[in-house]
């Protein structure tokens, strides 16, 4: 403090020894930056976050349709779809081809088969129904095709007539760019990768040393489809995933924080009945097991992948993901904000504002919220890192943002990878073991880096902004 002015004070003291017109906000930023600079971890976090944002922006600027990230091995697999007609909702039926049985998903049963021979299929109808055709032959052509199966009540039934085969453009890859072959056998052609058991998921990372080309599969491959029919390029996936992950987590946290801020500020400042009701509401939402809640919401709403608000199925499920998390997220912020507001509300400057006739709205906006912001920011930055982890939880528990098709989102990738790798555990213990480490490593690393750098940064910020810890 320089000495104060005053009626009877020599000018020498009254005039400040500072530069003429300091800009205090700049000073505050300088001060914060000073403390952040001393904190190596925080700097590291800052750097990583900037990198990730850069990657995300790059991914946005060069859009690739997400379903073309998948590549099939072999030469020409195709999707055969058996479409059900006249069966009540919810009854299970299945189709068997070459001793592999697939249950129905909604109204369809999907197979992915290599072209060539004609496959014999048999339909297992639910009890009390019979299907036509109950069995038959299907030859896999160059295009995916759909076979309609009609179900009817009663016994006996109509003699089998050749199935109506209709061709349709169903989702899934249409072109094969890459192939694999068992190690030791000669390569069938270009773009083919040697794998121990001919399994595409065991394609190793191929970092070619030439500086410009990062190799076709720099992070190796990952298999996700039920029949191991397709494998995915981890590198592309993580690249594409960056912007999806960031978008999802930021939007969840942002929306949640907004709601929480409003609710918390209102209930904290108004108090009384409003406070009571809002806080009970918060308590209710806090006593739901959050993850389960999100799962159930999505499961209930998108049973059989139906859509809402006329969004596309993908958009529907992303939207639902965000909404579901938002619903369980805001109460934390509400509570946090309320705690802050209760402190700030008692400060005298609020009363001073009231004494000079400020309206409640003005007080909340100009005095309460600005003075209870910082902890919210910290919490937000913490949570942004946590959201992809929770998405991974969901995916691990079977939630698919997009069924059967590889969806580029870090949580998804790492969860799928984990499931995939856990499958190898048994054979691994027998000694002859080839665990696709890269499938865990790279997605895990992406998640870990993101979360931990956000944590470092926010922690550094907290220390830098907290006057008590300023030492």
């Amino acid at each position: 403090m320089t000495a104060s002015g005053g009626a009877n004070i020599p000018a020498a003291i009254a005039t400040p020894t500072r530069r003429h017109r300091p800009s205090p906000r700049l000073d505050q930023w300088k001060r914060t930056w000073h403390f952040l600079r001393r904190n190596g971890l925080a700097l590291f976090g800052l750097a990583v976050i900037f990198c990730l944002i850069g990657v995300a922006v790059y991914a946005l600027t060069t859009p690739i349709p997400w379903d073309q990230l998948t590549e099939c091995y072999g030469t020409n697999n195709q999707v055969i779809t058996f479409h059900e007609i006249g069966l009540p909702v919810g009854l299970a039926w299945s189709v068997t081809i070459q001793n592999t049985t697939h249950d129905n998903v909604g109204t369809d049963v999907n197979f992915s088969l290599a072209s060539g021979p004609a496959y014999a299929y048999t339909v297992t109808p639910p009890g009390g129904f019979n299907a036509k055709p109950a069995s038959g032959q299907v030859a896999v052509a160059e295009t995916p095709q759909t076979i309609d199966i009609k179900f009817s009540q009663g016994v006996g039934g109509v003699p089998v007539s050749p199935p109506a085969v209709s061709s349709s453009a169903s989702s899934g890859p249409l072109s094969c760019t890459v192939c694999t072959y068992p190690t030791g056998t000669p390569s069938p052609g270009p773009n083919c990768y040697a794998t121990p058991k001919g399994l595409p998921s065991l394609i190793n990372p191929t970092i070619s040393l030439s500086p410009l080309v990062a190799g076709p599969l720099p992070f190796g491959a990952l298999t996700v489809t039920p029949e191991n029919a397709y494998f995915y390029n981890l590198f592309n996936g993580l690249l594409r995933g960056s912007d999806y992950s960031l978008l999802i987590s930021v939007s969840i946290v942002g929306v949640g924080a907004m709601v929480g801020l409003v609710v918390g500020a209102v209930s904290g400042y108004w108090g009384g009945v409003v406070d009571e009701t809002l806080m009970r509401l918060v308590d209710i939402f806090l006593s739901i097991p959050q993850i389960l809640f999100v799962i159930i919401v999505i499961a209930v709403v998108t049973e059989d992948y139906n859509t809402v608000l006329g969004l596309s199925p993908l958009a529907t499920r992303v939207f639902l993901l965000i909404i579901g998390f938002m619903v369980v997220w805001w109460p934390f912020y509400a509570r946090l904000v309320r705690g802050q507001v209760l402190v700030v509300r008692e400060q005298k400057f609020v009363e001073a504002a009231r004494a000079s006739g400020a309206s409640k709205g003005r007080i909340v906006l100009r005095h309460i919220i600005p003075n209870s912001m910082y902890p919210i920011f910290i919490q937000m930055s913490l949570d942004v890192g946590t959201v992809p982890l929770l998405t991974a939880f969901l995916v691990f528990l079977g939630f698919r943002i997009w069924p059967y098709v590889y969806f580029p989102e870090w949580g998804t990738i790492s969860a799928l990878a984990t499931q995939n790798v856990l499958g190898y555990l048994g054979e691994c213990a027998t000694g002859t073991c080839s665990i696709p480490w890269w499938q865990l490593f790279f997605p895990g690393l992406a998640l870990f880096l993101f979360a931990i750098s956000v944590n470092f940064l926010s922690d550094g910020l907290r220390d830098a902004l907290d006057p008590r810890l300023r030492r």
Partner: protein, 538 residues
């Protein structure tokens, strides 16, 4: 809270002077001016290392605290009064604060021994900040060393009684802790020595009942004490008294309830074993304190001794643990707890609290500020310390309560003979209770002397300004003159005399060098160039 009854005179507390342990006594060769000096602070420097720079909170403070005297330390906020007090026992949060240099002689012991080895200071060039390299081992060692002095020899009471007490422990717990820390062996010995089976207990109880029927408070107390004497435990007498007081009209209930209360004195084997082991532990602790004190006296560390004691202590802990576990069913710690409780009640009586039992059971948040301050005083005086550092003890209190507390402190000074260092910004309080006063400004003492001297003819312009700026009830239409400006920030203190920017008589020389302490009149010293007296012996 305290509505009626207890006045100070009613319950005498031990009045002998604080025991002068071989190290705590005044220096043998005491000069005339050094007579009875208990605490001698010499050229104390305490800095705070903050973001903005090094705050020179104390910059060479020297003062003496004499036995049986109250030394007032007065000045504006941020002039380093409290820092001085806290630097004596080193309870300054570190970081940011550190005692840089200086000596605090307590008897022969230098409390700041080994100071220079604790930390190295490397100035960061370009800024006025300093990087500190601490030797944590030495710092921990010196903290332990000082904890042997704290509370036992140098007690402290703080400004905000409501925040200075631990909210989750009852008053009895917190005072009991202090007791067991400082008087542990004594307490346990007396507890073990008590014999509830002595023949003359019955008669004493009868006498008590009779006294209760007469209903005279004082005789009742006397008889209760007689009961205590019969079982050879004073605190039990106190308990009996309060039982009788609680019984009120139906005096018949006194007999059985006193007998019931006496159960706590019938110690089982386990309880005795537990107490014995506890006592050994405390004894080890006291030995350790002695070792620490010797270290500070001799100025060299005695790690071997400390190690030996530590080993013994840990072994003893095992024993106590054994008794604790095996004796869980016997509630082995119960007798000690109750004994402590009733001793605490005694302490509270000493600070004239009318209903000590309720207060002892209570928690800090249930008590008023004045009451808590009394409790704090009782706690600090539990070990009858040689020095009491009172940091603004009455600032948070109302005038009427302040009057009570000041009365109390004055009385305690005369009875216990503790040397009090009273820190306040209120000159009036100083005038009421202090014998000598030090006026501080911006981390230095600008004037000190006997209170009459300083108030009759304040020499330093700052002291004059302070006195002039107090509104006085007895002089209504004295118009208030104020010292211009405010206390300078101690990161960039003014060169030379730190007061010169606000001083009306500022001379060129004031800007150049700090004025020395010159002595004007008997023991009246001032640091100002206006006075050319002989330079004070410092």
């Amino acid at each position: 809270m305290a509505t009626s009854g207890a006045s100070v005179a009613e319950y005498p507390v031990p009045t002998e002077m604080p025991p002068a342990p071989e190290v705590e006594g005044p220096p043998a060769a005491a000069g005339a001016s050094d007579h009875g000096v208990v605490l001698d602070i010499r050229d104390l420097k305490t800095y705070f290392f903050t973001y903005d720079g090094v705050v020179r909170a104390l910059d060479g403070v020297s003062l003496k605290v004499r036995r049986g005297e109250t030394t007032g330390l007065v000045g504006e906020t941020g002039c380093g009064k409290s820092v001085t007090a806290f630097s004596v026992t080193r309870i300054i949060p570190d970081p940011p604060g550190r005692v840089i240099s200086g000596k605090v002689m307590f008897g022969k012991a230098n409390l700041l021994w080994d100071l220079e080895n604790e930390a190295k200071f490397i100035p960061i060039k370009g800024t006025n900040r300093v990087k500190i390299k601490r030797s944590f081992r030495r710092i921990r060692a010196s903290a332990e060393r000082l904890s042997s002095i704290r509370g036992k020899s140098i007690a402290t009471i703080f400004q905000e009684p409501s925040q200075a007490m631990n909210p989750i422990f009852s008053v009895a717990d917190q005072l009991g802790e202090a007791l067991i820390l400082h008087e542990g062996t004594k307490v346990i010995d007396e507890l073990l020595a008590a014999n509830p089976r002595s023949p003359d207990v019955g008669a004493a109880i009868e006498a008590l009942v009779v006294a209760a029927q007469e209903g005279d408070r004082d005789t009742m107390r006397a008889k209760a004490m007689a009961v205590g004497a019969a079982v050879n435990l004073t605190s039990f007498g106190r308990q009996a008294f309060y039982i009788a007081r609680a019984a009120g009209a139906d005096t018949e209930s006194i007999r059985p309830s006193v007998l019931r209360a006496m159960k706590r004195l019938r110690l089982s084997g386990f309880q005795r074993g537990y107490l014995a082991s506890q006592r050994r532990l405390i004894a080890f602790h006291d030995d350790l304190n002695q070792v620490h004190i010797n270290e500070m006296v001799e100025g060299k560390s005695n790690r071997a001794g400390r190690r030996r004691l530590a080993r013994r202590t840990s072994r003893e802990r095992m024993t106590r643990f054994y008794y604790g576990i095996r004796g869980v069913h016997a509630r082995v710690d119960k007798p000690l707890k109750e004994e402590l409780f009733w001793r605490v009640v005694g302490l509270l009586e000493g600070v004239s609290i009318a209903n000590p039992v309720q207060v002892a059971r209570g928690y800090p948040h249930e008590l008023s500020g004045g009451m808590l301050q009394r409790v704090m005083i009782a706690m600090s005086l539990s070990a009858e310390p040689a020095v009491l550092l009172a940091d603004e003890p009455t600032t948070a209190l109302d005038v009427t309560i302040q009057a009570q507390i000041l009365e109390l402190m004055r009385d305690l000074k005369t009875r216990v003979g503790t040397a009090i260092m009273l820190i306040t910004h209120d000159l009036a309080v100083i005038a009421e209770v202090a014998d000598r006063v030090c006026v501080m400004y911006a981390g230095v003492i600008v004037e000190q002397g006997p209170v009459h001297e300083v108030f009759r003819r304040p020499l330093h312009p700052y002291s004059q300004g302070l006195l002039a700026s107090i509104p006085r009830v007895d002089q209504p239409n004295k118009e208030l003159s104020s010292i211009p400006g405010s206390v300078p920030d101690l990161i960039r203190p003014p060169p030379g005399c730190r007061f010169h920017p606000r001083c009306a008589y500022a001379m060129p020389v004031c800007k150049q060098a700090r004025p020395p302490m010159t002595s004007e009149g008997p023991e009246h010293e001032v640091a100002c160039y206006l006075y050319k007296g002989p330079v004070a012996p410092e």
